[in-house]
C-alpha cells in the first residue's frame, strides 16, 4: 500500500520553498492544453482544448477518448481564436480534468480517512481504506482543495488582458487552494529556453502567429504583433486548395468510413460509409475533418524555401518537376500532390499567393504575413535595439515545423534587412518547438530559488487578485 501523504495541516508551511516542490505547469493553447510537473522534460498531459458537450444531458466530456460520434454531441473550445480563455467555467473544468484526474496530483486525504481518526482495528483495515479512496477518484468536486500542496505556474499570451490574468489567479487560489501562483508570458519562456534574455520571438502556433520583442526578459508591449496565419488558417487554405482542385477533393473524416477498397490515384473513392441513427453535429464533423487536414499538413505541405517567392517567374515550373507526395484520404481516394504542396503554405509569406478564402476571417493582408508581422514589430521599437533582436530571432510553435520554414524565414529576413546580421534560433528537437513555453516554465518552476518569486497564498489574501498585475510583469 502506498504511503499516505501527510495532511496539509502537519506539513511545513513553506513546503513549496524547498527543492522538492511539486509545482504544476499549465500551458493552455487554442489547439492543445499542456500540463505537467515542473522539472520534467515534457508535459505529461497534452489534451485538446476542444471538448465535447452533450446537449441532451447538459454534460461536458474531455480528452481525445471522449470524442467519438454520439447523439446530441457538440464540439466546443474554451479558448477563442486569440488564444485567450473565453469560457471560464469550461476552462476550470478542463484544467481540473487535466491536473487532478489525468495528471494524478496526490490529493490530501480527508481527515475521516487519513487513518489518524480510526479506532484501532486488526490489520485488514488498511485495505478497506484504500478501496474507499478508489471509489472517490472521479468525484473531484468532493475535494475542496484539490491542489492544496502544488504551486501552479501558468502561461499566457503576451496580449492577455489584466482581467483575464486576475481570473486565472482567482481560480488557482479560490477553486484549487494552491499555495502559490505565477504567470509567465509564453514568448519570454520560449526566449529564455533558447538561452536569450533579449530576442525577437516568432511563435507560429495553431490559431495565431505572433511576433514579440523581448528585451532583458521584458516584453516590449508595443512590439507585439499577431495574425491568424497559423495552423488553423493553413487548414482553411488546404480546404480552398481541395475546392479548387479538378476534380474537387472531398474531405471524408475517418469516423464515417465503414470500409474501403484501394483505388488508383485520381479515381473516385470506393468506400462504404457508416450510417448513424442520430444526427452528427456540424461542429463534430468539422473537428474530425480538421484531423484529416492536420495529417495532410504534416505529411504533404512544405514551405517554398526561396530565395525569392514562389510566384517569382520560373519557380512554379521548377516546383512542378520536384518529386511529389501521395496522400490517401480516409476513404481510400488518393492523389499525387506536387507544386500545390508549396502553394498552399505560400500565403503565410506572400498575401498575393494565398488562396481566395470564402470567409472574411480567412482573408489576409500583407501586414498579416510572417514578414509583415516581423517588419511591423521592428518598426515599432527603438532603432538601436533592432540589430540585437535580429541577431536573436527565436522560432517556436508547432506550425514552424513545416519543412522549409526556417530556410524561407532566413531568406526573407536577409532580403528585408541586408545590412544587419540575422541569426535564427530554432530548436532542432520538435518537442522543444511544440512545447517551448511549457518546457521553459517547467525549468523555472523547478528551481529551488524560484520559491521567493511565487505569489504566495498569503500575498494573494492580503492584496487580492490585483497582485498579479504588480508582480507578474
Amino acid at each position: 500500500m502506498a504511503q499516505q501523504p501527510l495532511p496539509s495541516s502537519v506539513q511545513p508551511t513553506d513546503v513549496y520553498g524547498g527543492d522538492e516542490v511539486s509545482a504544476i505547469v499549465l500551458d493552455p493553447g487554442y489547439i492543445n492544453t499542456r500540463a505537467g510537473f515542473a522539472g520534467e522534460e515534457m508535459p505529461k498531459q497534452v489534451l485538446p482544448s476542444f471538448y465535447g458537450h452533450i446537449t441532451s444531458s447538459n454534460r461536458d466530456v474531455f480528452g481525445d477518448q471522449a470524442m467519438y460520434p454520439r447523439a446530441d454531441f457538440e464540439i466546443r473550445n474554451y479558448m477563442n481564436r486569440d488564444s485567450v480563455v473565453e469560457d471560464w467555467d469550461a476552462a476550470t473544468k478542463i484544467w481540473e480534468h487535466a491536473l487532478v484526474n489525468r495528471l494524478g496530483i496526490p490529493r490530501p486525504t480527508p481527515p475521516s480517512k487519513n487513518g489518524l481518526n480510526n479506532k484501532p482495528k486488526p490489520a485488514a483495515e488498511g485495505e478497506d481504506v484504500e478501496m474507499a479512496d478508489e471509489a472517490d477518484l472521479d468525484e473531484t468536486e468532493n475535494y475542496e482543495k484539490p491542489m492544496a500542496e502544488n504551486p501552479l505556474l501558468m502561461t499566457e499570451a503576451a496580449w492577455n488582458s489584466p482581467k483575464q490574468r486576475e481570473k486565472a489567479i482567482e481560480i488557482c487560489m479560490e477553486n484549487w487552494a494552491c499555495p502559490a501562483f505565477w504567470l509567465s508570458k509564453t514568448p519570454v519562456l520560449a526566449a529564455f529556453a533558447a538561452g536569450k534574455a533579449t530576442a525577437l520571438v516568432l511563435d507560429v502556433g495553431g490559431s495565431n502567429t505572433s511576433v514579440t520583442a523581448i528585451f532583458d526578459g521584458m516584453v516590449l508591449k508595443r512590439s507585439v504583433q499577431r495574425s491568424p496565419v497559423g495552423g488553423v488558417w493553413l487548414s482553411s487554405q488546404i480546404r480552398s486548395l481541395f475546392e479548387a482542385s479538378e476534380p474537387k477533393v472531398e474531405v471524408v473524416p475517418t469516423f464515417m468510413v465503414e470500409n474501403k477498397k484501394p483505388v488508383e490515384a485520381g479515381q473516385p473513392a470506393d468506400a462504404r460509409l457508416k450510417t448513424f441513427d442520430f444526427q452528427i453535429s456540424p461542429s463534430f464533423r468539422a473537428y474530425e475533418e480538421e484531423r484529416v487536414l492536420k495529417e495532410f499538413k504534416e505529411s504533404v505541405v512544405e514551405v517554398w524555401r526561396g530565395p525569392g517567392r514562389y510566384l517569382a517567374p520560373g519557380n512554379e515550373d521548377y516546383a512542378k518537376n520536384l518529386p511529389g507526395r501521395v496522400f490517401e484520404m480516409p476513404d481510400g481516394s488518393n492523389q499525387m500532390w506536387r507544386e500545390q504542396r508549396f502553394k498552399v503554405a505560400e500565403g503565410m509569406w506572400d498575401d498575393n499567393a494565398a488562396f481566395p478564402s470564402a470567409t472574411e476571417e480567412g482573408k489576409i493582408t500583407k501586414a498579416q504575413t510572417v514578414p509583415g508581422l516581423i517588419k511591423a514589430a521592428l518598426d515599432s521599437i527603438d532603432v538601436d535595439v533592432r540589430p540585437a533582436l535580429l541577431a536573436n530571432v527565436v522560432v517556436t510553435g508547432s506550425t514552424s515545423l513545416l519543412p522549409g520554414f526556417t530556410d524561407r524565414l532566413n531568406h526573407e529576413l536577409t532580403a528585408m534587412f541586408p545590412s544587419v546580421k540575422v541569426k535564427l534560433h530554432a530548436a532542432g528537437l520538435s518537442s522543444e518547438r511544440r512545447f517551448g513555453a511549457w518546457i521553459g516554465g517547467s525549468i523555472l518552476g523547478s528551481l529551488g530559488t524560484f520559491h521567493q518569486m511565487w505569489i504566495s497564498r498569503k500575498e494573494y489574501e492580503e492584496n487580492g487578485p490585483g497582485i498579479v498585475e504588480k508582480r507578474c510583469k
Binding site: 529556453a193 538561452g195 536569450k196 534574455a197 528551481l447
Partner: protein, 151 residues
Amino acid sequence: MSQSGATVNEECITAYNDLKLNKKYKYVIFKLSDDNKEIVVDSTSESGPEYDDFREKLINAKTKGAVGKGPRYAVYDFEYNLASGEGVRNKITFIAWSPDDAGIMAKMVYASSKEALKRALPGIATEVQANDADDIEYDSLVKTVSKGTAA
C-alpha cells in the same frame, strides 16, 4: 518579470570592483553554482590578460552534470583607440554567453538569472548577448562595443 530568484555572491561584486576601480583584472567570468542557487566567480584574468585565453575559457565552459557546453556571464574591460585619433577609450562590457549547443536547462537558468547579476554590477557600459564562437571574436566585439568608432 519571470526571474529565477538566484542570488549574487558577494565575491562577484568584489571581483567586479577590482576590475572597475583598481584595474586589477581585465576580465571576470561568472557562473551559477552547481545547485543553481547563486552566481559565483568562475575565473578572472589573474592567469594573464590575453583576450584569446578569455575566449577559450568561455568556449570550453561546461555545466556540471550536463552534456555539451555551458553558458557563462562575463565582464570584459575593452580598451580601444578611437578612429578619429582622439585617444583611448575604455568600455566595461557585460557578455551573456549562452552557446546554442548548451543544454536547455542551463540556458533557461542563465537567461532567467542574468538580470540579478547585471543589477548588482553598477557602471556597465554595454551588454552583448553571444551564442557562438563567432559572436566573441575580438574584432567584432570591439566594433559593437565602440559602435564603430574604434580604429
